[in-house]
């Protein structure tokens, strides 16, 4: 007796999805035959709202695009605005930005690890990664005064310089985090049930990933060595010595592995950027109205390639500001990852994709 197929709404309010989005899944028994993500529950009309605010007022709003890694969006907006105004941040501000961006990348990956912990059912992973993330939140709070939405970059530089002996604190935190990362990794890498839940699940090879527009750690896990910090270097990433972490499997374990290695690479970058930051001014006075024209800039967000396209008509308000969120496209490419796997694999696949609905719906 062929069991007919059942549509299940892993709906907007569901314990497994982080943020408001709905995954309609067609089940045949336990295996998934069709999947359709539905978004739009958190659409705030960010791009329309931004069109009646001045350039300097949008800076804190750009933080609120994705609360997981707010600094990378703040920085992307300021970088695009600098291209539009035709100005450039001073040398020291660039080094500060790179160091703080990499700190934010580690924090964002730890937030992702917290989500993976709850989805796979082990609350120890969750609480331990929150505890490690607390180290970095204190650092960034000491620097900018806020814990999540930092509002730290400005058009033409950064808000304030490092507080005194900040570099000593950062190095001390990174050494401590090195030890704790080893504990975290052994909590998962040598944990057979974790490997049973993640190896060989949600497979996607490089070619289809590239065609579907996937970017970021998910793409690098499928064996495509694409990292915008190396491909199209911005700020001072050219002379930062770090390696790109890739994996060839393309399954959930590979994505987890890539992100854990990326955390180690980010630590190297932070140390190098902190050491080499020259002295000098940290901010340039930006004019009020940019020349007419448009500017585009894309950076390596912890989730993938994030891009901003800005059109100005000479007044002090942007004419059009388009945001390309990496998660928007990764989510559109998720159905092929889900087909053929079981319903209890959905949290594993979706959890490791580091969803951030704020930037998807804008």
């Amino acid at each position: 007796m062929p069991s007919d197929e059942m549509w299940i709404n892993m709906g907007p309010q569901h314990p497994f999805n982080h943020g408001l989005w709905n995954l309609r899944v067609k089940l045949k028994g336990e295996t998934i035959t069709q999947a359709e993500p539905i978004i739009g529950y958190l659409h705030r009309g960010w791009e329309k709202m931004v069109e009646n605010r001045t350039y300097s007022q949008i800076v804190p709003l750009a933080d609120r695009l994705c609360y997981g890694s707010s600094l990378s969006w703040n920085h992307l907006y300021c970088l695009t605005a600098e291209k539009l105004f035709g100005i450039e941040a001073p040398e020291r501000a660039k080094y500060i930005r790179v160091a703080v961006l990499e700190l934010q990348r580690i924090t964002s990956h730890l937030t992702w690890l917290m989500a993976v912990g709850t989805d796979l059912g082990s609350y120890t992973i969750m609480t331990w990664s929150i505890r490690e993330r607390e180290l970095f939140l204190d650092l960034l709070c000491k620097l900018s005064g806020a814990r999540m939405t930092y509002n730290y970059c400005r058009i033409g530089g950064v808000r304030n310089d490092f507080p005194e002996n900040y570099e000593r604190d950062v190095n001390r935190t990174l050494d401590e985090f090195e030890r704790r990362l080893r504990d975290l990794e052994s909590l998962m890498d040598e944990n057979e049930p974790f490997l049973m839940r993640t190896v060989g699940i949600g497979k996607m090879d490089g070619k289809t990933a590239m065609n579907l527009g996937l970017t970021g750690p998910i793409m690098r896990a499928s064996g495509v060595d694409m990292d915008l910090r190396r491909l199209d270097p911005y700020e001072v990433y050219e002379d930062m010595k770090f390696e790109i972490c890739t994996h060839t499997d393309g399954d959930v374990y590979a994505r987890y592995r890539v992100r854990m290695d990326e955390m180690r690479e980010s630590m190297k970058i932070v140390r190098q950027a902190m050491a080499e930051a020259p002295s000098g001014p940290i901010r340039v006075k930006a004019p009020r109205c940019p020349p007419k024209g448009n500017a585009v800039c894309h950076v390596e967000d912890p989730r993938g390639e994030s891009l901003m396209y800005m059109v100005s008509d000479g007044t002090e308000r942007p004419y059009r500001l388009k945001v390309r969120s990496p998660n928007f496209v990764n989510l559109s490419a998720s159905p092929p990852m889900l087909l053929g796997f079981k319903i209890s694999d959905v949290p594993a696949i979706m959890g490791v994709m580091d969803m951030c609905i704020g930037e998807t719906d804008r």
Partner: protein, 251 residues
């Protein structure tokens, strides 16, 4: 150039990896550490986290320094600051900012834009109240004991000097020698002296310009700007009926 990826060879299902023993060793070590010295969580209402001085809680105000220039109201992304007339003992009826904390996102832009550091960023974040009205802080309620760490000062360099190369000087936020200036377009000015009345810092004074108004035989007066007092609040630019004033940015 790539990290050699540690290939996880998926051997037979049941292998002697200790299956879950290594993880149990790590968690047990964590448990011992948590019982020996206190766990890392704090009991919130009784113990509180230590916040740095520059922690951005709700905005606060130092009424003595405030000159009512409304730059914070113009700069706020959520438009939650309004100028409200209050009765000050020494200055009489003046306009001071009133912040609607229900809308405020604590971005600290108002403290950054304030030329006299009257608006400060206080570390206070416990703001629950029984009604939405309770969150609208009028200037008196907005006050907060002042500490040096709460002010938001930044130093900036000028674009022209950056491009010119050579030694780059950095200027403080409210450095009077370097800021935008107001420019008067003489033809449009009808010398109604409205800008002189609205200027909060008294930086504008009407000065005879020598010509005489043929009809009323009185000397024509036009505003002159004293740059050391001006804080570029653009109230004069907005109030001028003939929009004769405009801002010339220093770059």
């Amino acid at each position: 150039m790539r990290i050699e990826e540690r290939r996880y060879t998926k051997a037979d299902h049941f292998r002697a990896t200790g299956y879950v023993l290594k993880t149990m060793k790590v968690t047990f070590k964590g448990a011992i550490r948590a019982t020996k010295n206190r766990p890392c969580t704090i009991l919130y209402p009784w113990e509180k986290l230590l916040y740095p001085d520059n922690f951005r809680g709700r905005p606060g105000i130092v009424l003595e320094r405030c000159i009512g220039c409304a730059r914070c109201a113009k700069e706020c992304p959520n438009q939650c600051i309004e100028m409200v007339t209050i009765e000050l003992p020494d200055k009489g009826k003046v306009k001071r900012p009133q912040v609607n904390l229900g809308r405020c996102m604590m971005c600290g832009n108002c403290a950054e834009a304030c030329p006299t550091n009257a608006m400060i960023v206080t570390p206070e974040f416990e703001l629950c109240s029984y009604s939405r009205g309770g969150l609208i802080f009028d200037p008196v309620k907005l006050q907060h004991p002042h500490k040096a760490g709460y002010e938001v000062n930044y130093s900036f360099a000028l674009l022209s000097e950056m491009n010119a190369g050579g030694e780059i000087k950095t200027y403080a936020k409210n450095d009077n020698s370097v800021h935008d200036t107001i420019v008067l377009d003489g033809a449009k000015c009808i010398s109604c002296s409205r800008c002189a009345k609205t200027c909060p810092t008294g930086a504008i004074e009407m000065v005879e310009t020598g010509e005489v108004n043929p009809k009323t035989k009185k000397p024509i007066k036009q505003p002159k700007f004293d740059n050391t007092k001006c804080v570029v609040c653009e109230q004069c630019v907005d109030v001028c009926p003939k929009s004769a004033l405009s801002v010339k940015e220093v770059l």
